[in-house]
Each structure stands twice: as C-alpha cells, then as structure tokens.
C-alpha cells in the first residue's frame, strides 16, 4: 500500500472529525444556554462535514496515481519501538464511508430536529449524536488500528449514551448495559489483535501492518483474522454477539436509524474490508467470516418473522442484512465490492425504513406494537410512500437498490464455487425469501387492513397524522436514495471501479450460475415470500370475496378452517416453532449467557466481598496465607 501526503482540501480532512466534535463540546459544555439553537448547530456541523467530505472525495477522484492520501496529525505515542502516529487515511474505501456517515447522518440530524422537538433533552441528544458522528468518522478515517480503536470505543460510548437516552425507562438502561457489555467482549478481541500486531510488527498503521502481512506466520494471521472478526461481530451484532442489537431499539428512533442501521453496525464490515490483506493470507479465518455471516443472516431473517414490535423486526432485518455483508466480505476479492455496495444501499433504505417507523411511532403515541396499527396508509401518505419504497428496495424488488446489491452478493456466493458456493448461495436466496416474507408482513400489519388502534386517553388521543416537513423531507431523500442508489453504484458509476485502488480489479469471466438465473431465483424467492405473507397475514385483513371460478386447491385453502389447519400444520406451526425457538435461544441463551455472566460476577463479587469482613484479624490471616503461598510458590519454582 503506497500513500501520498495530503494536499489541497484533503489536508483539511481533519475538519471532518473536528467539526462534529466541536459541536458536541459546545453543546455539552454550553449547558442550557445552547438549548434554543443547539440542535441547529448540531445539524450544521454534520452538514458542513458532508460538504467537506464530498469535496474531498471529488478531489480524490481527480487524483492520478496512488489514491491513498495520508495526513499525519501528530505523534500519539512514540517510545522506542512503540510508535503510533495519529493520522488520517483518506482513500476510496474511507471516502465512501465518510459520505455515508455524513450524508445519512445529516438527514437523520434534520429529522431529529422534528422528532425530538418536544423532548426536554434535545440539546443533549444532539450533543451525543455529534459525538457519535465524530467518533465514527475517526473510526473510518484513522490511518492505524489504534486510531480505529479510539473511534471504535468512541462510537461504543456514544451508542451507549444514546441507547440509554431515555434513562427513566429501565429497559433502556438495561439495553444500554447489554450493548456495552457485548461490545466490550468484541473489543477485547480487537484489542488483542492490536497487541499482537505490535508484538509482531511493532506498528499498527494500516500501511505497516497490511504491507507486511506476508512476513507473518500463518498461525498469527489466522489468530489476527479471528480476533478482528470477534471485534467486528461485537460491533456489528453478528452471531454470537447479535443479541444486543434488537434490544438497542430502546433508544430514540433516529438513533436506531443512524447507529444501529446505517453506520455503526457496519463498522465490522469496514474492519474486515480494511483488513483484507490479512484475510487474504488467512483462508481459515475468511471461511469463518462467511459462516458467521450465513448463520447470522438466517437467524436475523427467521427471528424477524416472529416479532410484532416494528422496530425489533427492522432490527433483526438489520442483523440479517449485515449477515449478507459479512458473507460477502468473507468471500474474498469477489465479494468485497458487493458487500460494500450492499452496505451503502442498505444504509439508505434501512435508515429510511427506521425513519418511517419513527414517523409511525410519532403518529401513534410512541407505540411500536404492529398489532395496534393497521390502515395507516390513508392517514400518512408520505410516510407510507417512502416506507414502501424502502421496503421494496429491501426485499430486492427489481431495479431498486436492494435488487442490484443483494443479487451481486448471492451471485458472488455462487461464484465462490464448489459445495460451499451452493450452500452459501442457497442461504442467500432463502434469506431473500424470508426477508420478503417478514417485511411484507410488516407492511400489511402497519399500513393495510383495518385500523386496530385504541382511541387512546382523552389527554393523548391516538390520532395518526402525517409528520411535519422537517421529518418527511429526509425520508423522501432517503427514499430517492433507496430507489436509485443500487443502480448508480452498480451500473452507472460502478463502485468496483472506484474501489479498485483498494481491492484491485476482480473481473470474473465465467460464472458458476448465470446471473440471469440468479436473478430469476432471487425474484422467485421474493415473490414466494410476499405471497406467503399475503396468504398468512394480509389475506385475513382484507374482506374475502369469493370469486366464481377457483381451483379446488384454492377453494380448500380459502376455507377458513381448512386453510388454518393447513397453515398451522404445514407452515405456521413449524415456522412459529422455529422462530420461537430462535427467539428463545436469542433471549434466553444469549441473554442468559450475558445475564448469567453478570449474575455470576455479581454473585461472586458479593460472595468474595464477604471475605472483607472488617476484622483486622481476618485480613492478617489473608496476608499470612498469601505469604505462605508466595513462599511456597517461589520455592516450588526454584526447586522445580
């Protein structure tokens, strides 16, 4: 990897981080004085950062030669062989992340102005959001693993603060703690990987580490790959550390949109893509990445079918979609671009979906129970339209974003070759079908059918209404993105060309399965999913008009009891069991593991604490015991 020093506007790329950070500082330290205009400052810093990022990207695009621009800021640590320079690396890979973070970030900031308008803590909220954006930008712009780690911890902290934003809800605080703990588990992996890099190479800069992967032993590289993967799993909510992500939906919805859908959870994908040279030399680790991706993809998709909480469904959908991305980047060179393209389009449509969900919640007095929605399309046309476009993009409706990028991943999976390729591809197709099912179910339950909400109390009547313009405009922009991004990124301005300085060009001449067939397969799965959803969810709500000419099968199916019996025995029961089992495992085993660890720690803490009896003599006893052990151990060491 060859870098060139920054010049021109790129030399000012540190402003990207500094601006939101300054915003956060002003808002946090300014106190109530900034209550009136604080949110505007928050929006402005991110918007300006977006403009700068755009300009930097344009400049980068125009550069000839190496496209990795290095900007040394200062020497962070320099002591002997320990040499960490704080600096930024602006290359095509970080550029797309910068645009995603600041672009989607700006929209969500704008949306939040409306969404949080009535919240007394709005200034604090924007401070945390700005803090998050700054940390996230540092994560993707840092030129070394240490800088990345700094950002990594920063986003963890900001995410913690934001999940627990409504700290009076016990669920929010619990969710925040859970997120924090599971993230820390992942962080241990990342930290260990960094220490190993230091011990082996004496540096953690991307240039230094990735340039000398050839010099490392295979075992070390595999260990590095697995440890980095552990970190990525924690941050991205991948198996087995996925359980925190759905719970994190306790935070305000813009947070879910920005952090837990569009940006932070993709940090794991960034980490693995950035560490591509390590995985190139560690095929075992790479295989584990695909397996993790495939497992998570299925878990997310199946669990998504089981929830009635609109945000949880979207959260599991996120888990599942990030599983796709992991699957893609685990495939190696053929998958990187596909995975990153999906990451970008997913950023658009999932953010749009979350904002839509937020808009619905806004209208429904913060209810998230889809069983209490229904028929909202009439009341909230803009939300419905934007949400619908996001939905279509997500399920891979032809020519919308998801179609292009998800197809590419599935295509790459088949192209992986061999049985593995077929299995992975098959999982991808199955996942697409399930995605269509649960998303359609969500659409039906929320927007169609008969209204099912209560009247609400007299003081807060439930009266669904369209959200104000400050909220709908970002949704519209994101919807446009959901529609167009896929085409733009894969066909009009191929991302593969833009990223070729990072990953090289991988043009496969022959495919295992012809792209056409894959397209047909995926669309078929999608249609099946939608149809199933219509059959099992949508149909019950619409008045059944019995047509004159029907086949016996359909007639049988339309017989309510008969159909229900078949449904239950053939599809719903097993499906429910599977979903329930998964949810159970998710809630009990993984949560159980987390809670169990917490309980064990707390219990052992309390039990160990009893040793601190307050009696001097007990303390002296402990010391004498320690002395005996010390003397014994030393004697044993010298004797042995």
């Amino acid at each position: 990897m060859h870098t060139v020093p920054a010049s021109g506007l790129l030399a000012a790329s540190w402003l990207l981080i500094a601006l939101p950070l300054a915003g956060a500082a002003v808002l946090l330290l300014g106190g109530r004085r900034t209550d009136r205009w604080g949110h505007l400052l928050g929006v402005a810093t991110v918007a300006v950062a977006f403009v700068i990022g755009l300009a930097c990207t344009v400049q980068l695009g125009g550069m000839s030669g190496s496209k990795s621009v290095n900007l040394d800021l200062f020497t962070f640590i320099s002591a002997g062989t320990l040499d960490v320079k704080a600096g930024l690396l602006f290359d095509p890979l970080s550029a797309i992340f910068v645009l995603l973070i600041t672009g989607v970030g700006s929209l969500i900031h704008i949306y939040s102005v409306g969404y949080m308008a009535d919240d007394p803590g709005r200034r604090r909220f924007f401070a945390y959001l700005n803090l998050f954006v700054a940390a996230m930008l540092l994560l993707v712009l840092g030129n070394s693993y240490v800088a990345l780690y700094v950002g990594w911890e920063g986003v963890g902290l900001a995410s913690f603060l934001l999940i627990a934003f409504w700290y009076r809800r016990p669920a929010a605080v619990t969710a925040a703690k859970k997120a924090f703990v599971m993230n820390r588990v992942g962080d241990v992996g990342l930290a260990l990987a960094i220490f190993i890099m230091f011990a082996q190479l004496g540096t953690t800069s991307f240039v230094g580490v990735l340039g000398s992967t050839g010099a490392l032993a295979g075992g070390v590289l595999t260990a590095l790959g697995l440890l980095l993967l552990l970190g990525a799993c924690g941050k991205s909510g991948q198996f087995p550390l996925q359980a925190w992500l759905p719970d994190a939906m306790e935070g305000p919805t813009p947070v879910s949109a920005l952090i837990h859908a569009a940006t932070m959870v993709t940090a794991g994908v960034y980490l693995i893509a950035r560490s591509a040279p390590i995985y190139d030399h560690a095929p075992a680790a790479r295989t584990v990445v695909t397996i993790i991706g495939a497992i998570t993809l299925m878990i997310g998709a199946i669990a998504g079918c089981a929830y009635d909480d609109i945000k949880k469904v979207l959260a599991y959908s996120t888990v599942s979609q990030i599983g796709y991305m992991f699957l893609a980047v685990g495939l190696g060179p053929i998958g990187y671009v596909a995975g990153l393209a999906h990451l970008l389009t997913h950023g658009f449509f999932k953010a749009g979906l979350f904002l839509g969900a937020g808009s619905v919640m806004h209208a429904m007095n913060d209810s998230v129970d889809m069983r209490r929605f229904g028929g909202l399309w009439r009341r909230m046309p803009v939300t419905f339209a934007t949400f619908g476009l996001g939905y279509l993009a997500l399920i891979g409706f032809p020519l919308l974003s998801g179609y292009w990028t998800k197809d590419a991943i599935i295509e790459a999976a088949f192209d992986h070759g061999g049985t593995t390729g077929y299995v992975l591809g098959g999982v991808g197709v199955l996942g697409a079908g399930l995605t269509a099912f649960y998303m359609t179910r969500l659409m039906f339950m929320t927007f169609f059918g008969r209204p099912r909400w209560d009247a609400g109390s007299a003081s807060t009547p439930v009266d669904p209404h369209e959200s104000p313009g400050v909220m709908t405009v970002p949704m519209i922009v994101l919807a446009v993105g959901s529609v167009a991004a896929g085409y733009l990124l894969t066909q009009a301005f191929p991302l593969s060309a833009w990223l070729s300085p990072v990953f090289g060009t991988n043009k496969l001449e022959s495919h295992v399965v012809a792209p056409l067939w894959i397209g047909v397969l995926v669309i078929g799965a999608m249609v099946l999913g939608v149809a199933a959803a219509w059959l099992f969810v949508g149909r019950r709500e619409v008045p059944v008009v019995r047509p004159a000419r029907v086949s016996p099968v359909v007639r049988a199916a339309r017989n309510a009891l008969y159909a229900d019996a078949i449904n239950e025995s053939l599809f719903m029961r097993p499906g429910q069991w599977l979903a329930r089992a998964l949810v159970f495992v998710d809630n009990r085993r993984v949560d159980g593991a987390v809670n169990g660890i917490a309980a064990t720690l707390g219990g052992s803490s309390a039990r160990l604490g009893r040793a601190q009896t307050g009696f001097v003599r007990s303390y002296a006893l402990g010391m004498l015991g320690g002395a005996v052990v010390v003397a014994g151990a030393l004697l044993a060491v010298t004797a042995g």
């Binding site: 009896t613 009696f615 003599r617 007990s618 006893l621 004498l624 015991g625 002395a627 005996v628 003397a631 014994g632 004697l635």
Partner: protein, 281 residues
C-alpha cells in the same frame, strides 16, 4: 568482650558452653512466646514477652553482639516494654480476652497457616544453613576497640544515610504522639494557680480529689474510685475522659478469697449490697 568472642566457636559446630546456653534459654524463649500468645491477661502477655526478650538479649551477647544485647535489655525490654505496660495500665489491666473465638475457623486457619509458614520457612532455612560455616567477627571488624566502635564506624559510614533518615522517623513519632495525646487549650482559658486555689476553697471540698481507681477493682483512669461502701466516687473521675462502666470481676469462690481485701471492704455484688449504708448481711 574478647572473652565472649573467643568463647564463641568458629567452624560449623559451636562450642559446648554455647550449646548449653542455647538449650537452656531457647526453650525458655519459646515458652515466653507461647505464653504471650496464650495468656488471657494482657499484662501477663507483656511479661511473657519480656521473658523472651531477655533470653534473646543473652543470645545476642553470646553471638558476639554485646552492645546489641545491652540495648535489647536496657532499651527494648526496659523502655519499650514498660511503655507497653503503661498503656496497658491506662487501658485497664483487667481487659482480658474472652476465651471464645468469635471468628469462625480463625484459630484453626491460623494454626494451619502458622504450621505451614514455619514448615516452609523454618525447614527452608534449616536446609540452607545446616552446613553454615561460622566465620565469626574478628577483632579488626569489631573496630579494634570492641563491638561499639565497630557499630559506630558502620553507622557513620556505610549506613550514614539510613542513620540520618531515622531522625525523620523519630520526629514523626514525637509529633504523632503529641497530636494524638496533647490537648491544646484555648489561649486564655488557663487559670492561674491563684485563681485555681481560690476557686477550690470556695467549694465544699477544699481537699484533693480522690484518685481514680482507689479501692476499685479496675485501675484505669477511666474507672471511678469506689467509696468504702462500694459506690463510685463521682469526684474521682478524671476530666476529659469518659467514665467507664467497670465490669465487676466475678467474685472469687475458692480459698483465695479468704483474707482477700473484699472481706475487709465489703462486697461489690449489688445483689447483696444495695443499701448505701453498708452490708446487708
């Protein structure tokens, strides 16, 4: 000194005289240590410790350290242990420990660890030093003029810094004792001798106050004196110290009580003596 130095053998084995001294005083020292740990009464403990320290002092002298032996006996045993005894008397001589161990398993654990520690360290040292050759201190090392000069020479050369720093320790000790014991009066609150005697003669009781602990079972400053009838004498209480409720010792029941002061002074048992006038029996 030289006699002693000559008496101490060199080589691996020690002289017969020293062996005799060791085998007589060693057990006594050991008994003193055990006695200190096992005596219920704190004063007895202190005296047992004095016993051990005296034995050690003799050992020092035998082992070519006459100066240290003297210091051990004069300063350690003579001064420091007396300080301990002072404080014990201040706290109350009869504050004996109860036999019941309140911490569960403490004694067992302490014994096991003690045996373990002694086993490890004692056996280790014994193993490492069985063939320890005794070089012995020669006259030159003793400074030519004896042990004291030798120590002084080292004190002011090799250990000069430690010697100087020790002064900090002594100042700390003095300041510390003063901080915790010295009550500074508010300026101007101190009355002159004249004022004091005038004030005293204005009261009903011009004579001196009874001292604490007079006729009492406890002799701590906090224990009030007892009047002959067994009541506490209110004016015997020291100022600045909270009066202490003396726990009455159980009345001796064996023959030791015959002729004991209690026969003459009356009983302290309130069950038998509740009238202020004297004995009810």
């Amino acid at each position: 000194m030289t006699v002693l130095a000559a008496a101490a053998g060199t080589g691996t084995h020690l002289g017969g005289a020293e062996t005799v001294v060791f085998w007589i005083l060693g057990p006594i020292a050991l008994a003193g240590a055990l006695g200190m740990v096992f005596s219920r009464n704190a004063v007895h403990s202190a005296l047992w410790l004095v016993n051990t320290m005296l034995c050690l002092g003799v050992f020092y002298v035998v082992q070519q350290a006459p100066f240290l032996g003297a210091v051990q006996i004069i300063v350690y045993t003579g001064a420091i242990m007396i300080l301990f005894l002072f404080v014990l008397m201040l706290v109350g001589r009869d504050s004996s420990d109860s036999v019941v161990e309140t911490l569960r398993g403490q004694r067992v654990a302490a014994t096991v660890l003690g045996i373990g520690f002694a086993g490890l360290v004692g056996a280790g040292i014994a193993r490492a030093t069985t063939n320890l050759t005794v070089t012995g201190l020669n006259t030159d090392q003793l400074g030519g003029n004896g042990n004291i000069n030798g120590i002084a020479r080292l004190l002011f050369t090799r250990y000069l810094l430690a010697f100087e720093v020790t002064s900090a320790l002594l100042i700390t000790a003095a300041v510390g004792a003063m901080v915790l014991a010295h009550i500074e009066r508010e300026p101007g609150s101190r009355r002159t001798q004249k004022e004091l005697s005038r004030a005293r003669f204005l009261t009903d009781r011009p004579q001196t106050l009874p001292g604490p602990g007079v006729f009492a079972r406890g002799n701590s400053v906090a224990a009030p004196a007892l009047l002959p009838d067994g009541r506490p004498a209110e004016d015997s209480l020291a100022t600045g110290i909270e009066p202490q409720e003396i726990e009455q010792m159980p009345r001796p029941t064996d023959r030791a009580q015959l002729g004991s002061p209690d026969d003459a002074l009356g009983t302290l048992d309130p069950a038998r003596d509740d009238s202020p006038g004297g004995r009810t029996r």
